[in-house]
């Protein structure tokens, strides 16, 4: 089970926010009628909703190649210069000439500043397994990794749903209330199902992969397609028709293949093109079967997205209308 998906300080922040609003709801006599509480939960949910959408934004700015981080690129020469000087610092550390941690970090940061690479590299002192500290240089990652955003998405999404519930009192009477509460519930539940899938299914998929991973099966299938196409080109028309018929019906492949070989017109002695083609077809059926089984698991793992993504798009639209109408009127 991938528990990494749950380990985050965002859980604490989200829980604190929810606890704060719950305490507030207890302190007011009728939460759904208290204007300040309504506005507070509304803005709170909206802010959390924006953070939740931040995950999608973060993912797509990289996917589309428009992340501001791409413009932070520094020349390789500057990086090499910094690395050379950091290596010298490490030599001094190893020789015991530099021992004060604060001093080492100060020097390392000065090197990064002088080489003008501080935007892309940061330094940290780490205790190695052998004992002595090591000066480690690592990327700064200013926007934060997708995994971090993913966890924020998860916890703030749940918190936003709780706040939406407090805000509207889980009312389903008006169209807008039905849309907002219903869609929130739909998105949160599908999201939780998704998390459960992502946590448990990779192990199942890996176990099902045996000797052929899903990527290799896919590549192998495409390669066999090409080889079969080339093999078909080498045999005559009537034989091709017989084999294409065998290929179309994967059940009882061996039996049908043997029959097809007998039925095929006579060939010159030593011509094994038909046998080679049948071997390739057999291989493709095997790979196809394995690939299809793996794809079934993969599709199941991502089925929840069919509900979650359209639901989230509709919810965004409904929230936008709700906020605009509240501000307008």
């Amino acid at each position: 089970m991938n528990t990494v998906l749950f380990k985050s300080w965002h859980a604490l922040v989200a829980a604190t926010i929810v606890a704060g609003f719950m305490a507030w709801s207890i302190s007011v006599t009728d939460g759904s009628m208290d204007r300040a509480f309504q506005i507070g939960t509304g803005w709170g949910a909206l802010l959390l909703f924006v953070v939740v959408l931040g995950y999608v934004l973060r993912k797509y700015v990289h996917k589309l190649g428009i992340s501001p981080e791409f413009r932070m690129r520094v020349p390789i020469e500057a990086l090499e210069d910094a690395e050379t000087r950091l290596a010298e610092l490490r030599v001094q550390m190893a020789a015991g000439r530099l021992t004060d941690e604060a001093d080492i970090l100060k020097r390392a940061k000065a090197i990064l500043r002088q080489a003008r690479v501080q935007r892309v590299i940061k330094v940290r002192l780490e205790k190695s397994e052998q004992g002595p500290r090591t000066l480690r240089a690592m990327p700064t990652g200013p926007l934060g990794s997708v995994a971090r955003w993913m966890r924020a998405h998860l916890y703030y999404g749940i918190a936003a749903a709780v706040l939406v519930g407090m805000h509207g009192g889980l009312s389903l009477q008006s169209g807008m209330a039905l849309a907002l509460n219903g869609l929130t519930l739909l998105v949160v539940v599908s999201g939780l199902v998704g998390i459960a899938m992502w946590v448990t299914m990779p192990r199942l998929l890996t176990a099902a992969e045996h000797d052929l991973s899903i990527e290799k099966a896919h590549a192998l299938r495409e390669s066999l397609d090409r080889k079969i196409e080339a093999a078909y080109a080498e045999i005559d028309g009537p034989t091709r028709a017989i084999f294409e018929d065998v290929d179309r019906s994967p059940d009882e492949f061996s039996k049908r293949a043997a029959a097809a070989l007998k039925a095929a017109p006579a060939r010159a002695e030593g011509d094994r093109s038909a046998e080679d083609l049948l071997a390739l077809l057999g291989q493709r059926h095997g790979v196809q079967k394995e690939w299809a089984a793996l794809m079934r698991i993969k599709r199941r793992m991502n089925l929840w997205r069919l509900v979650h993504i359209p639901g989230a798009l509709l919810l965004t639209f409904a929230v936008a209308i709700h906020v605009l109408s509240v501000l307008w009127y």
């Binding site: 990289h62 589309l64 050379t84 397994e129 990794s145 995994a147 890996t206 990527e215």
Partner: protein, 501 residues
Amino acid sequence: MSELPSEVFELPLLADLTKKQKSLLEDEAYMEVAPAGSVFAHQGEFTGRFCIVLEGGVGAYREEDGVTENLGVYGAGSWIGELSALSNQPELATLRADARCVLLVIEPPLFKQLYRKHGSARSRFQDLVDATYRERSLAIHLRVAPVFRGLPSSKLKLLGREAQLIDVADGDVVASEQDQADALFLVRTGAVKCSATSTRGHERIVSYHMANSSFGERCLTGNRTWPGTYTAIAPTSLIKITEEVFQETLASDAQVLERLRATADLMVAGEETSSTSTGGSVIDIVRPRRPASDQLEIMVGRQSVKGGEALVIDLHRCIRCNACVESCVSVHEDRVPRLSKTGTRVSAGLTLATSCYNCDVPECMMACEYGAIRRDVKGQINFVWDNCVGCQACTTACPYGVISMTPPPAAAGERPRYKRHWFLQTIPFLGKYFEGLRPTGEATPPDDENPLGGLRGDPVKGKAVKCDLCAGLPFEACVYNCPTEAIGRMNPEKLFVDNDD
């Protein structure tokens, strides 16, 4: 490449070359003019170049403890860079042209051709280079061995004078299990495997020793035997210092000998502890569902395990969303992914992604005749775009198939510009229906013959590319964009920790 003057072949170092070697030299070596005062190699830099001074003089300056020492001035007929070329070591000193110099530059692949033995006999080139190596570099090279760290240069010089330089062939046994440990070895090039017989009676890998790694410190610690059988797993060059040499050379300095013994004691104690634990320097095979040892053998044989951290995918976390490959594509303007998930499965839940290992002995670098591949100070292998001619020698040489070719540039001297993904293509589930709108010039998708995609094998030549760890950017795209933290960098040695014995 300029034509070499005939006097070059009269130099003592080159006079006895074979006809074939001379022809190679003529074809591949080149002359370089260094103006007075110019620095052409910095201390600590990986160059791998071997240079013969034809005119002028080169000064070698080594900085140590804040003090710069002049190691000597090398005039016409002398040579520099033998340690770098032999052992892939960083330059020991900064090399500066004290006067205008003309140098004959020999790149690593050619150096290896010239240094090669002719049958069983050593060549004059080999003898002369080794003699210089022994005189100038051996003492400094010995410091690589942990046991010698901090030993005064004078003592190292004494040891170096008596050390033997030996060559062993692939498969040769250097020392046998249970024999008396009688010498300390330092690997110059190649690799040595130490294997012991386990309690169950099968061979168990205790450790691997690659270039600049030492073994046999136990010879200093009294009556001890070898912990396993040491076998060369590639043609290997070793420095051997016998126990007698230690005794004789350092006999007059009991304090130094005592210090060496104390350090060796500590190292042997550590070795023995780690050989019974699952961590440390012991590399063994874990939960092998397929012969992972073969992969390790290849990786170690090619010294990849020492190169850098490998890209590993935890399949129990990976949701197969392909974000790693897609993000790799988005940061590279040629849109050729530098990694493929169709790597080698090393255990039930871990896959070694097909991505550059920055091998310690990079075969791509050795194969490149155009100086387009170099190693930076971090040990990372980088491609120099402008020098690459698209000959594909590196793609053939790479044992892991991690080098791809980009599409050719639109016009000579221009880098290709490609459109990024269309927004429509990024929509979940529906994106594939817009694939037909793929911009022209985009790389071909990966397949089993070419797991990285790209245009390998395409008749029109492009440029060679491989994982550059997103150099210059504040992130490593594949790791940074994985939603489940399934992909990460890991020391390959840790992949092969024994749970078996």
